[in-house]
C-alpha cells in the first residue's frame, strides 16, 4: 500500500470531507470516520482534517483492518498545525454483504457508545481526604467543602466547579479548532454559591445545594467574534457536565472577548 506523492494527493477530488478537530481515535473519532466513510462511493476518497497528531499513526492500521486504503497526508497550511488525511474506500468493503455488515456494526457501536457507563471507585483515606480511582488515574480530594486559605487537597465542591470549568475550557478549545478559529487564549472563571452551607455543617436545617453557579469565559482572538460566541454557546449546550448542572441549578454563563 504505497502512499501517494504530495502532488498526487493535491490532485485528489475527495467525495467527502470532514474536520475531526482535536479528537483522537479513542474519543469518538473512529465512529465519525466510519459514518462519513459510508457516504463515500466504492473506490471514492474521504478527506479527514485533524489537528490531533496521533491520528496520522492510527489511520493506516485502521484502514488495513477495515479494508480501505490509506493514501497519505498533507499539511493543512505550511507552518500551521493540522493535517489533511486521505483515505480511499475499499471496493470490497463497500459492496454487498460487507457494506451491510459495516452499517450494522456501526449502528451497534453507536448504541454501545450511547449506553456507555463511566465508573469510578472512591476510598476514604486516613484523615480528611479520599482517593478517587478511575481508568489509569487516581486523585485525592479533601473535605466536602472547606473555607480554609490553604489545604492539603481541593474540596469536593471545588472539584465539581473545576470539572465544569475544565469541561468547558477544553470543550471550547476543541470546538474552536473544529471551526477553524484561532484562539490565542481561553480562560474560564467559575463561581458558586450554596443555598446554606450551615446546613452542610449540621448547624442549621436547610438546603446545602448550590443556589447559583456562574461561569465566565474570556477568549482572546482576532478572528470573527460572533463565530467565536456561537462556538461557545454550542460548547455549553453540548457539555454533559454543564447540561446536567443547568437542570438542577441556576447556571449563568457569560462570554467575553478579552
Amino acid at each position: 500500500m504505497a502512499d501517494l506523492s504530495p502532488l498526487e494527493l493535491r490532485a485528489l477530488l475527495p467525495d467527502q470531507v470532514f474536520d475531526g478537530g482535536d479528537l483522537d481515535c479513542g474519543s469518538g473519532l473512529a465512529l465519525i470516520i466510519r459514518e462519513h466513510m459510508l457516504l463515500v462511493p466504492p473506490g471514492g476518497v474521504l478527506e479527514l482534517k485533524s489537528r490531533e497528531p496521533s491520528v496520522a499513526g492510527d489511520l493506516p492500521p485502521w484502514c488495513r483492518l477495515s479494508g480501505h486504503e490509506f493514501l497519505g497526508s498533507l499539511p493543512v497550511r505550511s507552518g500551521q498545525p493540522g493535517e489533511r488525511h486521505f483515505l480511499r474506500r475499499g471496493v470490497a468493503a463497500a459492496t454487498g454483504e460487507a457494506e451491510a455488515a459495516e452499517r450494522r456494526a456501526l449502528e451497534e457501536d453507536k448504541l454501545r457508545a450511547r449506553g456507555y457507563e463511566w465508573r469510578l471507585r472512591v476510598r476514604a483515606g486516613e484523615g480528611r481526604f479520599s482517593t478517587v480511582y478511575c481508568r489509569n488515574f487516581s486523585w485525592k480530594l479533601g473535605q466536602p467543602a472547606s473555607f480554609e486559605e490553604r489545604d492539603q487537597h481541593p474540596s469536593a465542591v471545588e472539584a465539581l466547579l473545576g470539572a465544569l470549568g475544565s469541561a468547558l475550557a477544553t470543550g471550547y478549545a476543541a470546538e474552536c479548532s473544529r471551526e477553524g478559529l484561532t484562539m490565542d487564549d481561553i480562560e474560564i472563571t467559575v463561581k458558586g454559591r450554596l443555598e446554606n452551607i450551615l446546613a452542610h455543617l449540621g448547624m442549621d436545617e436547610g438546603d446545602p445545594s448550590f443556589s447559583m453557579i456562574e461561569v465566565r469565559c474570556f477568549a482572546s482572538t482576532l478572528d470573527d467574534e460572533s463565530k467565536a460566541k456561537r462556538a461557545w454557546d454550542r460548547t455549553v449546550a453540548r457539555s454533559p457536565v454543564a447540561a446536567t448542572l443547568a437542570k438542577a441549578v441556576t447556571l449563568k454563563t457569560t462570554f467575553t472577548i478579552a
Binding site: E149, D184, D185, E187, T189, F218, S220, L222, A258
Partner: protein
Amino acid sequence: MTIFTTTQVGSWPRSRRMLRALRDRRLGQVTRAAFDRVADDEVRRTVRIQEEAGLDVLVDGEHRRDNFYSFVTDKLEGARLMSLAEMLDEMEDKSGFEEMLTTLDVPASAIRNPTCVGRLSRREPLAMDDFRFVKSLTDRPVKITLPGPYLLTRSMWVSAYTKKAYASQREMGEGVVRILREELQDLAGAGCEFVQFDEPVLTEVVLSGECGRRTFM
C-alpha cells in the same frame, strides 16, 4: 509656544492591524522589519492627527509597546515578559492573587508583567529608536515616556524568579535606576525635549500607606 502647553498622556488605542502585529510579535511569528512597517504607519498617522489638532508636544502613541512598562522586556537583558497565567503556579498567595484578578475583572493571560529573571542591563536603548523615528516626522518638540523606577522595581521583582539573580529587591532596584538614568542621558543627548516617567503605583502608596502589596496592571 502658546500660553498653555498641550500634550497628551497615555498610549493610543491600537488599530486592529496593530493588535495583530503585536500578537504575532509576541508569538514570534513576524520579523522585526515587518512589525516595524506596521508600527511606523501607525505612528505616522498618530503624529499627523496631533499636528492637525494643534498639540504642542507630540508623542508616538506607544503603538510598539506591549504596555507602558512591560515593553522593557524587549530591550533588557535579564527580563522576561510573563503573563500572570504563566505565573499562577509560582504565586505563593493564590487566594490573594485570585482576589486581585476578580477585582480587575480580567483573565490572567491579559496581564503581562516584565519579570526579572537575571542580571539587568540594556540590550538596546529603551526608547531611543522611538524618539528618532517620531522626530523624523515632525519639527515640534517630542515627549518620550518611560516607566518610573518605583513601578519597575515593584513589578519586576517576583521572588520565585528574581531571587536567583539578585539578593534583594533593593539591589535589583539599583539596577533599574542605573538603566533609567542611562536612558535619560542618552535621550537628552539626542535632543529629546521631554521625558515623562510614569509612576501610577506611587499614588496608591501615598494614599494607602501600603507598600508590601503586589500590583499588576
